[in-house]
């Protein structure tokens, strides 16, 4: 019996062959769920039940509120994604796989100019072409939309101006692709070409014709879309630094490089409702935007999310081509399909912002970080997209994991005549993080201390507050650093390897779900809602709007439901494709899905569980507190022989009411400060990560090969370690692309020179190092079973780890990303000049001899380790705010105990002259303060 118990009632049919096999069609169908092909109940898997509730799973970070819901079914077990069969057999239906009968093909006419006014569009020749069924221009879609409610600056097609090469001008639907392409050549568009802006620095200046006009809120006549100023802490601490670093970074824009190009099919059904099929990360925003643009109520639109062939942030805006398809379909009365070529994918872009980032930082005589001073000028391209948020993230996501004496940030996002930048994996945090981590490396070198010890002695503890007011809950940063140090054999390698071989460290910090649902009040409506329905067959249907973009959110939701109900994963069916059937969900961005959606799913599943246990109570006579839910069976805790099958209990529960239905929702707790922009970067939990990278640098050519990565990521609790490891390795791949080879090249004339996958150089498998994923589980008190995000945070540390490793290999600090061989070689040439050598092979690799601060840091880190453990396990629940390390009392507001403690969101007049590049935006006034309000 292998420790299991026979399912009952089960096995009703006894028609079997002599050899014991079943006879097709001859056997009575056993009630599903009562055994099926697995008549034995699996024994409880104690290895995956927490020790606090009687299992064997160790819990070094303490107990969790969901421990009692654990059944040892799937949580914590490496699990293949539930949609993987569809994908590996080619049956997953991606955007371009949707084929509706009678469909026609839509094509988009795109701007050949960087910046121009549209004087007229003559479509008469297009309309006359046989086979053309519908033509649309900007005149058909006057309503503006945009992903953020505060910055709606897009049209389905250009209304007055085109803002970059590739901007949408008009569209046409025709019987086939060849006809549609022929039709594109028949549009007669008269343009008045305007002077384009490419350099974001120029975007700060006044111009005759700003790319967008925001009326009274427009900043003078510049192209600044958003400016940010934030200053916290005691600025006097930075005055006499022991060490300092000042780096000016130039980071190229990068693209997500997902496999599937954008594709959309729009169809107005016989009832006049729009059915729109699109590979979207954020179908709900598309839903809203469609309603606005088409002037149709939301309930008359059904957005169907197809399988998504990679998103990474690049499919999270409502897109103009989605509107075009809907408009063409409405006009033609036929389903319209639009599929992008790769160059169109690059033109719609929404990749990481090209950025100029300047970071100054200082450390005091105790090697405490007395100040971060960050200035980020980011190139937004032609539209706002997520840029409002990006402008904040470039600063505020650098306020942890370190305790800071002060923090100063100026940021500006400018419009330029390039494809729009937007959100990309690690949104807004990646570039600044790289700059900050490299600065720390430089300061460690000046102070003659080990960079890992410098970090370990300056970490914020679990359950603390950052200088900007973010609430940190679980925090596995320390453990992550310790694990990669040990795994990489750091202490035997750092600053000890020969020229050309290097090792470097980098850390990361990222939000686990944006705390603010941007379309509604978080105190009134939930972030995520999940519905569960269990009918007589015993199968569990889960309705969620969570968009699986390959990261495995469907699997995560299925897993948590399976875990709570102790049912095999095959019995959980997640339905998440249609807005008609899915409760509203904000979608897959800001690494929110597992945290918020799985939390909602657990709540719904617990409700179903309660109904099942109540039914079992009625059957067995034992109170639910004494019942155990295990694989398709509920039994008495002290005598497993006394029990009832899941199905029997279910049917009991269904008496009088039929299918069981439950709804669960997740709402984030109130948190954060009240200053302007305080909501940016707020999250119910944060992930932490530390990577060590090893590189080989060919000093004669500047070629870098990353050979090994030890990648530790604190995801709270790995619901599915297989998926977490996949995310870590995938993040390494994507981050390595940005740091070594990927860039959107804008040439002499401002054109994007490499809109294809041959010249946009994503690393191939040959360039991949060996990655050792290390999962850190800090058990977040509010995460589902303790889980936090693992989709974006793991990307952050690889960039600085590689840049620092290159320094360790050749002794040259490089601050132009990507580190293509020509950039490295230029650095090497400079290094040779400085060292007075002719042959790069004569360069010296840097060495370190620890100074007197090193033992101080080691000792402080050891003390902090004890502190952190007690706080992590809630053995110490005293408040801790950023500043305690500097001797401040966490129980008294800092502004009351420190003279000059600032919390400012606008610069003081005397600061204006000293602001950095992006800070110059603060020299300008808004139109309403200039007397004009045009």
């Amino acid at each position: 019996m292998s420790g299991g118990y026979r399912q009952q009632p089960g096995g009703a049919g006894k028609v079997t062959r002599k050899d014991g096999k079943r006879v097709a069609g001859k056997q009575a169908f056993p009630p599903p769920g009562s055994g099926g092909s697995k008549p034995e109940m699996a024994p409880r898997d104690l290895d995956f039940i927490p020790e606090m509730v009687g299992g064997k799973e160790a819990q070094p970070a303490g107990a969790h509120v969901h421990d009692r819901a654990r059944t040892g079914t799937t949580v914590g077990k490496p699990t293949a994604l539930v949609d993987s069969n569809a994908k590996v057999t080619g049956q997953a239906w991606y955007g371009d796989d949707v084929r509706l009968s009678n469909e026609v093909i839509g094509k988009i006419l795109r701007s050949p100019h960087h910046y121009a006014k549209i004087k007229s569009i003559d479509t008469s020749k297009v309309e006359a072409l046989p086979g053309v069924l519908a033509v649309a221009t900007g005149a058909d879609s006057p309503h503006q939309f945009g992903v953020l409610p505060v910055t709606k600056d897009e049209h389905a097609m250009a209304v007055e101006k085109v803002r970059h090469v590739g901007d949408l001008v008009a569209c046409v639907a025709a019987v086939d692709e060849a006809t549609a392409m022929e039709a594109l050549n028949l549009f007669e568009v008269e343009y008045e070409v305007l002077e384009p802006v490419f350099d974001p620095k120029k975007g700060l200046e006044d111009t005759d014709e700003p790319i967008h006009w925001r009326g009274k809120y427009h900043l003078a006549r510049t192209n600044v879309q958003k400016r940010v100023f934030q200053e916290f802490g005691d600025r006097s601490l930075v005055e006499k630094p022991l060490a300092s670093s000042h780096g000016k970074w130039n980071m190229a824009g990068v693209h997500h490089g997902f496999t599937e190009p954008h594709a959309v099919v729009a169809h107005w059904d016989p009832n006049g409702r729009l059915q729109l099929y699109t590979p979207q990360q954020v179908p709900h925003y598309t839903h809203r935007a469609l309603a606005t643009v088409l002037d149709v109520p939301m309930h008359q639109i059904n957005v169907i999310r197809t399988f998504v062939g990679g998103g990474f942030g690049g499919k999270s805006d409502p897109f103009p081509h989605e509107m075009c398809a809907a408009i063409l379909a409405r006009k033609s009365g036929r389903p319209v399909r639009i599929t992008f070529d790769r160059e169109e994918v690059y033109w719609i872009n929404r990749g990481r912002h090209p950025s100029h980032i300047e970071v100054k930082m200082t450390a005091d005589e105790d090697a405490r970080i007395s100040g971060f001073d960050i200035d980020a000028l980011i190139d937004g391209g032609g539209f706002a997209s997520f840029g409002h948020v990006t402008s904040y993230y470039n600063g505020v996501l650098a306020t942890a994991p370190y305790e800071l004496g002060s923090f100063h940030y100026t940021g500006a996002r400018v419009w330029t005549n390039k494809p729009a930048s937007g959100a990309m994996r690690g949104h807004g945090a990646v570039n600044t993080r790289c700059a900050v981590e490299v600065g720390l490396d430089e300061m460690a070198e000046q102070m003659k201390v080990d960079p890992i010890d410098l970090r370990l002695a300056n970490l914020l503890p679990p359950h603390s507050r950052t200088i900007s007011g973010f609430r940190i809950t679980s925090n596995g940063m320390r453990e992550a650093l310790e694990k990669v140090r040990e795994g990489s054999n750091w202490d035997d390698k750092f600053r000890q390897m020969p020229l050309g071989k290097g090792i470097g460290i980098g850390c990361g910090f990222f939000i686990s779900g944006s705390g603010l649902p941007i379309h509604w009040d978080p105190n009134r409506f939930p972030h995520a809602t999940v519905h569960i329905q269990v009918d007589m067959d015993g199968g569990v249907t889960v309705h969620t709007g969570a968009a699986d973009i390959g990261q495995g959110s469907t699997t995560a939701v299925a897993q948590v439901v399976s875990e709570v109900l102790a049912l095999p994963l095959e019995m959980i069916h997640v339905r998440s494709h249609e807005s008609d059937t899915s409760p509203v969900d904000l979608g897959s961005y800001s690494s929110r899905v597992t945290f918020m959606n799985a939390n909602a799913a657990i709540r719904a599943a617990l409700e179903i569980r309660e109904q099942l246990l109540k039914a079992a109570w009625e059957i067995l006579g034992y109170h639910p507190n004494n019942l155990v839910l295990n694989d398709r069976r509920i039994y008495y805790k002290h005598d497993p022989a006394i029990g009832v099958s899941y199905l029997k209990a279910l049917h009991k529960a269904q008496e009088d009411k039929g299918a069981l239905i439950a709804s669960g929702a997740y709402r984030s707790p109130p948190m954060g400060g009240v200053h302007k922009g305080a909501a940016a970067g707020l999250a119910p939990a944060y992930s932490f990560s530390a990577y060590v990278a090893e590189v080989d640098v060919d000093v004669e050519t500047g070629m870098i090969k990353c050979t090994n990565v030890w990648a530790a990521h604190d995801c709270g609790k790995a619901l599915n370690p297989l998926a977490v490891k996949g995310q870590i390795i995938g993040s390494c791949h994507m981050g390595l692309g940005q740091v070594l080879s990927e860039k959107m090249v804008y040439g002499r004339t401002g054109h994007l020179q490499n809109p294809n996958l041959l010249e946009y150089k994503i690393p191939s498998v040959h360039e991949m190092p060996h990655v050792e994923p290390i999962i850190i589980e800090s058990c977040d008190p509010e995460g589902p079973f303790g889980a936090k995000e693992a989709g974006e945070g793991p990307l952050l540390p690889i960039l600085p780890a590689v840049v620092n490793a290159v320094y360790d290999a050749i002794g040259i600090r490089l601050r132009d990303l990507p580190l293509t061989p020509d950039v490295v070689f230029k650095g090497i040439e400079k290094g040779m000049k400085a060292a007075g050598v002719d042959d790069p092979l004569d360069l010296q690799a840097p060495r370190v001899e620890h100074g007197s601060l090193q033992p101080v840091l080691v000792e402080r880190a050891a003390e902090h380790k004890i502190r952190d453990r007690a706080r992590q396990r809630s053995e110490d629940t005293d408040p801790y705010v950023n500043g305690v390390l500097f001797g401040f009392d966490p129980n008294i507001p800092l502004e009351d105990q420190v003279e000059g403690w600032r919390m400012a969101t606008e610069p003081d007049p005397e600061q204006l002259a000293a602001l950095g590049l992006a800070g110059k935006a603060w020299l300008k006034k808004e139109q309403r303060h200039m007397g004009g309000d045009e």
Binding site: R110, T701, T749, E767, P821
Partner: protein, 325 residues
């Protein structure tokens, strides 16, 4: 636009048939292209670059897949250029670095030698090229200027980025061409001809039938060094091939590729170093610098020309390293 424009595909089965077909099309004024493996031509067609209404395939012509130490047919697949098949190790080295293994199973030797020249401003989709108002190499009847070096309308500076040509050059290969006007043979070195549009001496209707190598090629040893960002599937950003008879520096031949519109040998640079007397690593240094100085890459590939030029020195040094052993 990735929709392939329509064309008529012809499948001659003999050289005579192919030549007759070419002559016939020329006579009726119909433009055509030759296609072998298609890995170069068809991507360009999908981008609507200089497409033709007719395409003649060499795939079914008998005897074009000969492979031996002395003779390589135009239809020999790059993946078949192996030492087991008796191919010279230097050629094998270069062939194994072309594109990806997937492409190498389709791509051919003839196609690689006749590779179209490449340029940032040229290898782009139709919408993209419209946005720069076309370029000299694919001007769509507009007489457009060169976009790499503006205001010179006479020359195309697109870069030849084949890997195998320089190795065949340093082994002394001869190419055999055939067309309606008969057959001719010439050293591979003279096959290439400026500029980036003309590319080589092939006349209309003529195609490259095979390559032969001298008997003494087998006595030569050497190396091919390739510069590229990714070790998989990237075209060369610079390439240097060298060969010599073992222990005899005076036999040294060097050729470069991916730096200009044509690959070429560097006899003068080699001669000037040899004249001064061979002195091992010092000579290598002088030679590397001389070759570096002789090439003039332009800004139309992934890496900047200044860097590519600097790397010629390193690649040359590495290519001739074996001579010092």
């Amino acid at each position: 636009m990735m929709l392939m424009p329509p064309f008529t595909l012809h499948h001659p089965t003999s050289v005579d048939q192919a030549c007759a077909l070419a002559a016939q099309l020329m006579e009726s004024g119909e433009a055509f292209d030759w296609v072998a493996g298609g890995t170069d031509l068809l991507p360009n067609y999908k981008w609507h670059i200089n497409t033709k209404p007719h395409v003649i395939s060499l795939a079914r012509i008998d005897g074009t897949s000969t492979i031996s130490a002395q003779e390589l047919g135009c239809m020999v697949r790059l993946s078949d250029l192996t030492e087991e098949n008796g191919v010279h190790p230097v050629i094998v080295q270069a062939a194994s670095k072309v594109a990806s293994s997937l492409i190498r199973t389709n791509a051919t030797l003839g196609g690689n030698l006749c590779l179209d020249t490449r340029c940032f401003w040229y290898n782009q989709g139709e919408d993209w090229r419209r946005s720069i108002d076309w370029c000299h190499k694919a001007d769509c009847g507009t007489g457009a200027d060169c976009r790499v070096i503006p205001n010179q309308n006479t020359l195309c500076v697109a870069t030849y980025q084949g890997d195998i040509a320089p190795t065949l050059m340093v082994l002394g290969a001869t190419v055999h061409l055939i067309g309606p006007n008969g057959a001719r043979s010439l050293p591979l070195e003279s096959f290439y001809q400026l500029d980036g549009m003309k590319k080589n001496v092939l006349e209309e209707g003529e195609f490259l039938l095979k390559v032969t190598l001298p008997d003494d090629a087998a006595n030569r040893t050497g190396s091919y060094q390739k510069l590229r960002v990714r070790d998989s599937w990237d075209f060369p950003e610079a390439g240097v091939a060298a060969s010599w008879v073992k222990g005899d520096p005076s036999s040294l031949v060097i050729a470069t590729t991916a730096l200009e519109s044509i690959p070429r040998c560097h006899p003068e640079e080699v001669a000037s170093v040899l004249e001064a007397g061979w002195s091992g690593s010092e000579s290598v240094k002088a030679l590397s610098t001389a070759v570096q100085k002789s090439v003039k890459p332009v800004n139309n590939t992934a890496l900047p020309p200044r860097y590519r030029r600097s790397m010629v020195r390193v690649l040359t040094k590495r290519a001739v390293q074996g001579l010092l052993e």
